[in-house]
């Protein structure tokens, strides 16, 4: 059977959970698994790929790969696909994954499916379930006319078992050809938040117009820090300038699928519901019992957010320390 190539992503020298999911999934298919690890972080984190089930690691510790550059990365990945003969490439639907792989696909004449939420691999056959219209519906994507199938999976969709340190992989160091570049990454400006991105967060606390003014997002920040959650927002409050667009959940913002989504003062416009209804458990806190958000919610509290949320923060603090 032909190989599966997994594109590994690292954070602080560790293999990201989303990459662990992919390597473990690939190993379970029974096909040989090669992981591609680029950059200096990959040097320290690459061994973890073996613990999660990769048999072979294609490693390039060159610092040139420390910052994402579409042209440089596309060239290396295309070369890796060619060298390994992999017919299935798995990567996460992260900022860089979503930017990179369509360029790779165009370069090598391959098909790419982004934002997969379920994947089935049986022999060479690959089926991917993915949301369309930001989750208003789903469809199954299949490939045709392509030797290489590229699938970008959303984070938190596949199970992860603890790493098995007895399993190791063969490491092959390789210097990829570098094309002359027309793209230069000059600077990376860190975000205000060191927290997980909305699309990767396990718990999201979102606020809407019901919070009445921008300053009241502090209440949500307090709740989020107790829960280890990331804070999101509705389109209405982003358009009103209360918070930045990077926090917007919905069809013209981010599509999220955490284990727990807490919507505070969000009535639930169709385009917002599309972006969050994939969440496992949804809690809605709203003063209007007829708000559409309650149709998607698992648990609902009809009440005053200014009374409920601080109490909730207090009680979570107690519950989580016990």
């Amino acid at each position: 059977m032909s190989k599966i190539l997994v594109f590994a992503e690292f954070q602080n020298g560790n293999l990201k959970r989303s990459s662990q999911e992919l390597v473990q999934f690939a190993a379970k298919t029974g096909r040989p698994v090669v992981a591609l690890a680029l950059g200096t972080q990959a040097g320290s984190g690459a061994a973890q790929l073996g613990h999660h089930g990769a048999q072979e690691i294609l490693l390039c510790k060159d610092a040139a790969y420390d910052a994402y550059n579409p042209e440089l990365f596309a060239s290396a990945v295309a070369e890796a696909i060619q060298n390994t003969g992999a017919t299935l490439v798995l990567a996460s639907a992260s900022s860089s994954g979503k930017d990179l792989f369509p360029r790779v696909a165009a370069k090598i004449g391959a098909g790419v499916v982004s934002d997969g939420t379920e994947i089935t691999v049986s022999g060479e056959d690959v089926k991917v379930k993915k949301p369309l219209y930001s989750g208003k519906c789903f469809a199954t994507a299949q490939f045709e006319n392509t030797n290489t199938k590229i699938v970008l999976m959303r984070a938190n969709q596949l199970p992860v078992a603890p790493a098995d340190t007895s399993k190791t992989a063969t490491v092959t160091e390789h210097a990829f050809n570098k094309p002359s570049l027309k793209t230069l990454v000059k600077e990376i400006v860190k975000g205000a938040s060191e927290k997980l991105d909305l699309t990767e967060a396990n718990i999201v606390v979102s606020g809407g117009r019901g919070l009445k003014e921008a300053a009241n997002f502090k209440m949500l920040n307090d709740l989020a820090s107790v829960l280890g959650a990331t804070v999101g927002a509705s389109r209405a409050v982003v358009d009103a300038g209360w918070v930045g667009h990077s926090m917007q959940v919905g069809q013209t913002g981010k599509t999220v699928a955490p284990s727990l989504y807490i919507a505070v003062g969000i009535s639930g416009a169709i385009q917002h519901l599309a972006g969050m209804s994939g969440s496992k458990v949804i809690v809605a806190i709203n003063s209007d019992a007829n708000a559409p958000i309650f149709q998607k919610a698992t648990y609902g509290i009809v009440g005053d957010a200014f009374e409920i949320v601080p109490k909730l923060t207090e009680e979570f603090k107690k519950a989580l320390t016990h």
Partner: protein
Amino acid sequence: MKIFVCLKQVPDTETKIKILPDQSGIDPAGIKWVMNPYDEHAVEEAIKFKEKNPGAQVWAITSGPKARAVESLRTALAMGADEAIVINSPESLDAYSTAKALANVITSEGGAHLVFTGKLSIDSNQSSVPQMVAEFMSIPHTSVVSKFESSAENTTVERDVEGGAKEVVQMINPSLVAANKGLNMPRYASLPGIMKAKKKVIKEIEFSSLGIAGGEQKVKYSGFALPPEKPAVKLLTGDAASQVSQLISCLRDEAKVL
């Protein structure tokens, strides 16, 4: 100096999606079609560039079923684009074929100094076409752009990445820029703009005339379905303190998410 803006017509964000009985796609009945929201930012930035760079000409281009797809081109013309091209193509084209068609036509029209697109279309959510167009044209690209500056030789942009971080990227022109929401505030079309756009002749190109073979279609979709219905909400009653303590026990003991 030609500036191309690639755009797509999509169902309005308030659309309630219905599925065809054979699950082959969505039911087009009753859908209100609009320009993809991110493409509005692409059009706006192209027009702003033209205003600062006399001699620049903005060409709006789309691929889709001609009868409806021209409407978004008229919107772009009304906002201030100079020319428009529709590639009359079937609804079911995948990102690869679409990008190939766009890149072919832009190249045969003499190429572009800059290409603007939205970062993704809100229907298929693939975010693939911009990067593919750039690769097919052998030009650099940056996606998810919220700040744009351009000189004759270079384009410098800010790209939004995870956790609110930004990458400052410089590209050698010609280059492609895929717009994020924060890039600008799209203008409303003026009445004279709308009148002018109505009369404008839109260039029509048949997809079948571009020599793009059936083998350029790489991904097909089937089995369209709505998300599973959620069970009815469990409303927690009583005073605030009681609602809060019920919620915490539900999350911990019933849903097991804490």
